[in-house]
């Protein structure tokens, strides 16, 4: 079985697993990193959203064989470290707006929000209604309104 090495939440890890295993299951089932959630397995619900080299991606739809040794994967567990704090400003905004209901979608929502804000900021803009409309993450508890408010609030501190 091939060995795969990559950087996970700041630490280099190596796993023995077939090339075509999807990254989500490497994280959850083999490495015990359970922040990214399963909600569809086909890149639709976005519950598994994490970052690769700082950009949002969905590990349910990426083979481990397509990950290079120096690729940096960040899950919700590693998000605060990217800013050297206990909580990322987006997580603080989430708590302040009391966003979560069941909480199942929220790791993915926050990872998507952080990437979206970074993208908008890279492009020199600020979050608009259209940006918020473009978010694909499902929340079956319907916390969408507070998610929108929290993103605007969290973006100001990013």
């Amino acid at each position: 079985m091939p060995k795969h090495t990559f950087v996970l939440n700041g630490e280099r890890v190596t796993v023995k697993v077939a090339n075509d295993e999807r990254v989500l299951w490497v994280l959850r089932d083999l490495l015990g990193v359970t922040g990214p959630k399963y909600g569809c397995g086909i890149n639709v619900c976005k519950a598994c959203t994490s970052h690769i080299n700082g950009k949002a991606f969905n590990p349910c739809s990426v083979r481990i064989g397509d990950i290079a040794p120096d690729d940096e994967i960040t899950t919700i567990e590693g998000l605060p470290d990217t800013v050297g704090r206990d909580l990322h400003p987006m997580q603080e905004a989430w708590i302040d707006r009391d966003v979560p209901q069941c909480g199942y979608c929220q790791p993915g929502q926050i990872m998507a929000a952080v990437a979206l804000v970074r993208k908008v900021q890279r492009e020199g803009g600020t979050i608009t209604e259209a940006d918020l409309d473009s978010i694909r993450n499902i929340c079956r508890c319907g916390t969408y309104t507070r998610i929108r408010e929290a993103i605007v609030q969290g973006a100001r501190k990013m």
Partner: protein, 786 residues
């Protein structure tokens, strides 16, 4: 907090507003034997009993006398299970809630109630979910938005009694009277500045024997925690990814397990033709045929998906294989109870409307999932369950064991919406573990959920109203539905409570079958509409159905409120004015007036856009919703990949009177979430049945509300109810939201829609395969990074 003086206040000057007298605040609590202080109270609520002691006015609809909340509260009563608060040596409080947290915020609201009564900070109070406790029987069932209603007083009494005992213990130590002491965030202090912590006092306050103590609860005016907005106690875990759901638990050797399911709804497996080949696949450890399909256990879920896609299974397609939406609709029409042709004066006008509501999936984002470790003569289960005792009984029967050999651990679940009232996932995991002889971590694939999971049944609602000039003389509604499965314990709990009812009501309710009973208990039109009848009939038991959030109400409410708008149109009256003229309940009127004002009802709107208003009364409270919708072509036709766009609700104002509110911040969240559900029911979300199979298989074809559907403007107005009993909140906004959106849509387009959701007629996606039943895992994820 406790107090001794009687007090009755009237803060609103409203005739309806009456604070209960001291007698209604006097309760019995217990100090239980233990080394530290343990206080307890019974869930048998004197208030609930008092509320049943009613005079019967003329011609009321049944929910005005007694509704589902009362029956559930009463159903919880006979077992009189005690719920207990323990104060440990650190002075922290512990309480195991006999209910399931599925996202609705009951852990937070229970913590708030205890913080109020104990005078202890919320982070020193640990509310956990109780495992299955058979002695609590139906007390341990979360449904019908009943939790706060039926536990409120018991939790208050246990908390208040603990505080009372800590004060008396301190009085002994300090040799003063209790009057000279007060509590201050987890301590007791006297005038001289002596401080004793709850931790120091706990064992002194404890008892060796059970003592029965009278407790007087303080009136709501003195609340300092209850009624203030508090954030969820588990928010930090949720946003850091440390909140654990069933699939996140570390149970040794419980390996990923999935089930290859039949191509038709409720089909059955006959045999696996290539078992040897599957067993040779990478990572596969076990394969077993169970009742619902072929289960496979592997090292990863990815391997389970691959194995399922390779399985060659012979299926029994079941009784539904020739059925489709139209054939089921046809059956429903045949089962409709005829209208009674009313005797109306010459010149009376008659309005006849007929609405159809399609199958909907009640699946949460967390799919059905459970861990099971079944041994020779015992079993342990971990799952999100709303009726754990029933699951325990069913699993034991399934495994051929005594219930006391089965331990059921309740895990917080990722949403329920009625889906987790049943133990389907726990039973299935137990079967798989038994068949394989090893522990399993069983999860449904997303594709399984809309196709095989619990559904909200398809139904029709016919309404006939007669009018003479401006007056409505009769209003008849005939609701005909595919059978709703109530076999999860809710039914038994409620029907057994019927025996406890005062005889007149018992007679009126006793003859109904359970689903009719639920219908009768939940449906109430808060309008003067002359002679009103609302009847339910059901047909067809072949589907896997359940009581999706708000059960019958959304559909019934949509049909009734659209009919009200139609009456208004025909008599040339404004929809709001018609409602205000006909509303017969002062609390409902206040809510409607509040949203009409906040939402600026009647403002000028461009062509193709409109406002809509609707209301719903249930759960000892009411909601009113005002929306603005944009149905102009540019909006309706906006393009988003793999999505339905359609009309956009641009603004929503939701008014809610939920009785006494424990946590307004949580209530607002429930209203917002309920709105997203209601809007989806009207505009976008349904399952299409074709040749015995549901076409939908994931969120890219089951169109639950997404960000591009969400109203950019949304406001929740919480009413001061003028009563001191909490109502239910978990579901209250769904019906009125669905109806307000439907009414707005009809006014914007000039056409009254008759089939819901309105987009059901057009299938805009390519159905995923049925064999294999799960789609392949994509490999191109890195193309979509941002």
């Amino acid at each position: 907090m406790t107090e001794t003086a009687a007090s009755t206040t009237d803060s609103g000057g409203d005739a309806e507003r009456a604070r209960p007298s001291l007698d209604r605040r006097r309760f019995v609590g217990y100090v239980l034997g233990g080394s530290t202080l343990i206080t307890a109270a019974s869930m048998l609520s004197p208030t609930a009993a008092a509320a049943l002691d009613l005079e019967v006015p003329s011609l009321p609809q049944i929910p005005e006398l007694i509704d589902l909340e009362d029956l559930q509260t009463l159903a919880a009563a006979p077992t009189a299970g005690l719920i207990a608060v323990r104060i440990d040596e650190q002075g922290e409080a512990h309480f195991a809630l006999p209910r399931a947290e599925v996202g609705q915020g009951i852990v937070t609201s229970t913590t708030m109630i205890l913080a109020e009564e104990l005078d202890l900070p919320m982070d020193k109070i640990h509310v956990t979910l109780a495992p299955a406790r058979p002695e609590l029987l139906f007390n341990q069932l979360t449904g019908g938005s009943n939790t706060t209603v039926s536990t409120f007083e018991a939790v208050r009494v246990a908390g208040a009694l603990a505080r009372m005992r800590l004060l008396s213990a301190a009085a002994q130590v300090l040799d003063v009277t209790v009057d000279e002491l007060r509590t201050l965030v987890g301590t007791v202090v006297d005038a001289a500045g002596n401080i004793l912590t709850f931790g120091e006092l706990s064992s002194l306050a404890s008892s060796e024997v059970v003592e029965r103590v009278e407790v007087v609860l303080s009136p709501p005016e003195t609340f300092r925690v209850i009624g203030t907005g508090r954030r969820r106690t588990d928010a930090r875990e949720a946003v850091t990814g440390t909140k654990q759901f069933a699939m996140d638990l570390d149970v040794p050797n419980a390996l990923p397990t999935m089930v290859c399911r039949p191509p038709t709804h409720m089909g059955k497996p006959v045999r696996l033709r290539n078992k040897a080949e599957i067993l040779r696949m990478r990572g596969v450890t076990h394969v077993a045929i169970i009742e619902t399909g072929v289960a496979v256990r592997c090292k990863t879920f990815g391997q389970c998906i691959d194995a399922i896609r390779k399985m060659d299974v012979e299926w029994d397609l079941g009784d539904l294989k020739d059925e489709s939406d139209d054939s089921i609709l046809e059956r429903l029409r045949r089962a409709e109870i005829p209208m009674v042709v009313p005797e109306v004066p010459v010149g009376a006008r008659q309005i006849d409307l007929e609405f159809e509501f399609m199958f909907r999936s009640s699946a949460a984002l967390e799919p059905y999932a459970a861990i099971a470790d079944v041994r020779e003569n015992s079993a342990e289960i971990w799952a999100g369950l709303k009726a754990p005792i029933l699951a325990q009984t069913n699993i034991a029967r399934e495994l051929g064991m005594l219930p006391n050999r089965v331990t059921v651990n309740v895990v917080t679940s990722g949403g329920s919406f009625g889906h987790k009232l049943f133990g389907d996932h726990a039973i299935e995991a137990a079967r798989a573990s038994q068949a394989m002889g090893v522990p399993v971590r069983l999860m449904w694939h997303r594709a399984d959920e809309p196709r095989q999971g619990r559904l909200h049944p398809m139904c029709t609602s016919r309404v006939r109203a007669t009018m003479l000039r401006d007056e409505v003389l009769t209003f008849e509604q005939r609701h005909t539905s595919v059978v709703t499965d109530f076999s999860h314990g809710f039914g038994e709990a409620i029907t057994s409570a019927l025996d406890e009812l005062p005889t007149e009501l018992g007679r009126r309710l006793g003859g109904l079958v359970f689903s009719e009973l639920i219908f009768t208990l939940t449906q109430e039109l808060p309008y003067n509409l002359g002679l009103v009848t609302q009847l339910l009939s059901e047909t067809d038991q072949r589907f896997s159905t359940g009581s999706m959030r708000n059960i019958y109400s959304p559909d019934v409410c949509v049909a009734a409120e659209l009919t009200l708008d139609e009456i208004a149109r025909q008599i040339g009256q404004d929809p709001l004015e018609l409602r205000l003229r006909l509303i017969r309940d002062a609390r409902v009127r206040r809510t409607v007036e509040a949203v009409a004002k906040r939402g600026d009802w009647g403002k000028r709107m461009p062509a193709g856009t409109a406002q809509g208003i609707a209301l719903h009364k249930e759960y000892k409270g009411n909601t009113a919703v005002l929306v603005e919708i944009d149905c102009r072509p540019a909006t309706v036709k906006r393009k988003i990949r793999d999505a339905v766009t359609g009309p956009r609700v641009t603004k929503a104002v939701i008014g809610v009177d939920a009785g006494l509110v424990v946590n307004p911040m949580g209530l607002e969240a429930q209203m917002q979430g309920g709105f997203m559900d209601g809007m989806a029911l009207t505009l976008t979300s349904s399952c299409h049945l074709r040749d015995g199979a549901f076409l939908e298989a994931s969120w890219d074809n089951y169109y639950y509300t997404r960000q591009w559907n969400v109203p950019p403007e949304m406001e929740v107005v919480i009413m001061d109810p003028g009563v001191d009993i909490p109502g239910g909140a978990g579901e209250a906004a769904v019906g009125s939201s669905a109806a307000a959106v439907a009414c707005a849509y009809a006014r914007a387009t000039g056409r009254v829609p008759t089939r819901f959701p309105i987009n059901h007629g057009e299938i805009t996606f390519k159905p995923k395969t049925f064999i294999p039943p799960v789609p392949p895992s994509p490999t191109n994820g890195l193309k979509f990074t941002y």
